[in-house]
């Protein structure tokens, strides 16, 4: 098996057939006074129809930045400096403003990290669904409103809440309302950026359950972002692990769970309790994520890695390499193991 360079044609693919979303060598940077923060560095992945790809990693590793780059809602000081994002056969990065306006929400929508901030405080929930519908479809206000009521019902909000303002709803209901807005035009794909982080565990579980049902019902794909690895293992088909702006490992959930290849994945796994399992092993990861203005040389994880290979990991940057048909990881240890076996 050969290590694949990011530019090579062969990249971590999902299933056979054409992917719905395909991200290649994405690079995003924030231009700040301190210098350029490389928040996303040569990231590639695919998502196919009706698939859930989970993205996990510590705070600040660039998860939201990827989500915003794919939807092209990044604003200065963030700049996409390289790569390609294809949705079916259209190039998202090449779209004009008008094309984007028509494309987004109809094909691809996003659920923001914080539901409170994603809702306009001075408009009723209903109005915020209705204007999304009317922006894309030539329907009357009444028709749009009927659809809004339907959507609220789908996400489990009683229709008499349609004229409520965000501050009148509970945290869970707000999150459901945001999901309803994302569903408004029946998109093929929804990006969900930590849709349940601010909620308590019970509500969190309910909402995850509902998202799963909605997915089965409407058949959209999900790019699901979270800190919570155990949640991902249950919920997603495949998982990507990010570290310091790079993809450290990507592969089918079970495989990542049973046979993690990257030391960071192993650590991350140990630092979270599993939903089903006993809540005991709670080791944090020692050290802190690197400063992305001046990332460490070689493997970005080496300063925190206790199995780093002296010399090599400081010097040489590991590329993603295949360890099983759909499993890729970027770690020099894989070579070592291969050499030993």
């Amino acid at each position: 098996m050969s290590a694949i360079s990011p530019s090579a044609a062969k990249t971590p693919e999902s299933t056979s057939g054409q992917p719905l979303l395909s991200v290649r060598n994405l690079e995003v940077e924030y231009r700040t006074k301190r210098g350029r923060v490389k928040a996303v560095d040569h990231v590639s992945f695919d998502i196919s129809t009706n698939e859930v790809l989970g993205l996990a990693g510590e705070s600040g590793c660039g998860k939201s930045t990827i989500a915003h780059a794919v939807t092209r809602i990044l604003k200065p000081p963030a700049y996409i400096t390289g790569g390609q994002i294809m949705f079916k056969s259209t190039d998202i990065l090449g779209m004009s403003d008008d094309e984007l306006r028509a494309f987004r929400w109809e094909h691809l929508s996003i659920v923001f990290q914080s539901a409170m901030n994603a809702l306009n405080p001075v408009l009723s929930v209903g109005a915020q669904i209705i204007d999304a519908i009317q922006a894309h479809m030539p329907v009357s206000k009444d028709e749009a409103r009927a659809r809004a009521l339907e959507l609220l019902d789908v996400v489990g909000i009683h229709s008499n809440r349609v004229d409520s303002y965000p501050h009148q709803l509970s945290g869970g209901m707000r999150q459901r309302a945001v999901i309803a807005i994302a569903l408004a035009l029946n998109p093929e794909m929804i990006i969900m950026d930590e849709p349940t982080t601010a909620l308590d565990v019970v509500v969190q579980k309910q909402i995850i359950q509902e998202i799963r049902q909605l997915k089965d019902k409407f058949g959209f794909s999900i790019l699901f972002i979270t800190h919570d690895l155990s949640l991902l293992v249950e919920f997603s088909d495949r998982i990507g692990i990010m570290y310091a702006g790079e993809l450290a490992e990507i592969g089918p959930s079970r495989e990542i769970f049973d046979n993690p290849q990257h030391p960071y994945t192993v650590r991350l796994m140990n630092s979270f309790p599993t939903i089903s399992g006993p809540r005991i092993e709670l080791k944090g990861i020692p050290g802190s994520p690197p400063d992305l203005v001046t990332p460490p040389s070689g493997c970005r994880f080496h300063p925190r890695c206790d199995v780093a290979i002296a010399g090599r990991c400081q010097e040489e940057h590991p590329e993603l390499q295949q360890t099983s048909p759909r499993h890729f990881a970027a770690c020099h240890l894989i070579d070592e193991r291969k050499g030993n076996s």
Binding site: T71, I73, K75, R101, A102, R104, W105, E106, S109, I110, F112, Q113, S114, N117, A118, L119, N120, P121, V122, L123, S124, D131, A132, A135, H136, Y165, H167, I181, A184
Partner: protein, 324 residues
């Protein structure tokens, strides 16, 4: 409604504070205020005027509390006393017409300045670093550094005296009869008001604009604005319904402080243009030591400012469901 009720209670307290200040200010002066008044008007004032003056301010025999009650009673009966400089005309009669001129001039120009400034602020923030941002902001900063009355002097000098575009002094051509049905009279009123009007607008616009611009910049980075854009809404809708509608709320909250400042400046602008409004009357009253008139003008201005603030609060409630 709770919000409006709370604000109203506060305005009543504030009005009461102004009334009480009015009572105590003369009493806090070094020396005896009655003596001071006597000294001021020695030989110029007939004894009846002196008596009425004392009564207006509650300078009756008796303890302070009783004086205060007398003063309040007078006030609530609408008895602001008699003018000293135009004795024995009741102060109220002098205030009436000048209040009308002021409400028209300052009210109109302040509202206009608020609207124009807010709109400019919205666009400046929307196209940050664009035309409005680069042209109006520096101008506003420079104008804002000058005293309001000085801008008024320059406007009067250039447009009134050097280029003679507009008539100077007073609110209308004094050779005319006041007749609001007469188009010539109306046009004279408009012509006389243009210079003070523009001065107040020029001086007040900058503050509103900068405030609104900075609020907008804050709101534009909110997720709900980004999501509105992602939903595919038109720029117009995002800018107005999602961004501006939220950004204007702090402006309305800050209305109180800014309004006091703007009104203060506008009153002195009246003096420069000899516009017969409250500011002109107040300053004439001060120069003529017409204490009852001075006090009454202050109270009326205060009440007007409080009323304007209450109007801003009502606007706030209409725009922000959280305050309902």
């Amino acid at each position: 409604m709770r919000f409006l009720f709370r604000r109203l209670t506060f305005y009543i307290v504030a009005a009461f504070a102004a009334i009480t200040l009015n009572f105590f200010i003369p009493r806090m002066m070094v020396g005896d205020p009655v003596q001071l008044m006597f000294a001021q008007f020695q030989g110029r004032l007939d004894p009846r005027a002196m008596e009425s003056l004392k009564e207006t301010f509650g300078f009756v025999q008796g303890p302070l509390l009783q004086q205060y009650i007398t003063y309040l009673t007078n006030l609530f009966q609408g008895n602001f006393g008699l003018s000293v400089s135009s004795f024995p005309v009741p102060v109220i009669e002098l205030i009436g017409p000048s209040l009308a001129w002021t409400v028209r001039l300052i009210g109109f120009s302040t509202i206009l300045a608020f609207i124009i400034g807010t709109i400019l602020g919205v666009f400046a923030a929307w196209r940050r670093g664009g035309g409005i941002d680069n042209i109006f902001l520096p101008i506003a900063s420079v104008v804002g550094a000058f005293p309001f009355f000085w801008i008024a002097m320059v406007v009067l000098y250039l447009f009134g005296l050097v280029w003679k575009w507009f008539p100077i002094g007073h609110a209308y051509d004094v050779s005319m009869q006041v007749d609001w049905g007469n188009p010539t009279f109306l046009s004279s009123v408009v012509q006389h008001s243009l210079m003070p009007l523009c001065t107040i607008i020029i001086t007040a616009i900058g503050g509103w604009m900068l405030g609104m611009r900075n609020n907008m910049i804050g709101v534009l980075s909110q997720d709900y604005v980004t999501m509105a854009q992602a939903k595919g809404l038109s720029d117009r809708r995002v800018m107005l319904v999602y961004a501006a509608r939220n950004a204007i709320l702090p402006s309305l909250t800050g209305f109180a402080m800014s309004l006091g400042f703007v009104v203060g400046g506008a009153l002195v602008v009246e003096l420069v243009f000899a516009y017969p409004g409250m500011g002109y009357t107040l300053l004439r009253a001060v120069q003529g030591r017409d204490y009852p008139l001075m006090q009454a003008v202050f109270l009326v201005i205060t009440l007007a400012v409080l009323a304007a603030n209450f109007a801003a609060d009502i606007m706030y409630v209409l725009l922000d469901p959280r305050a309902r």
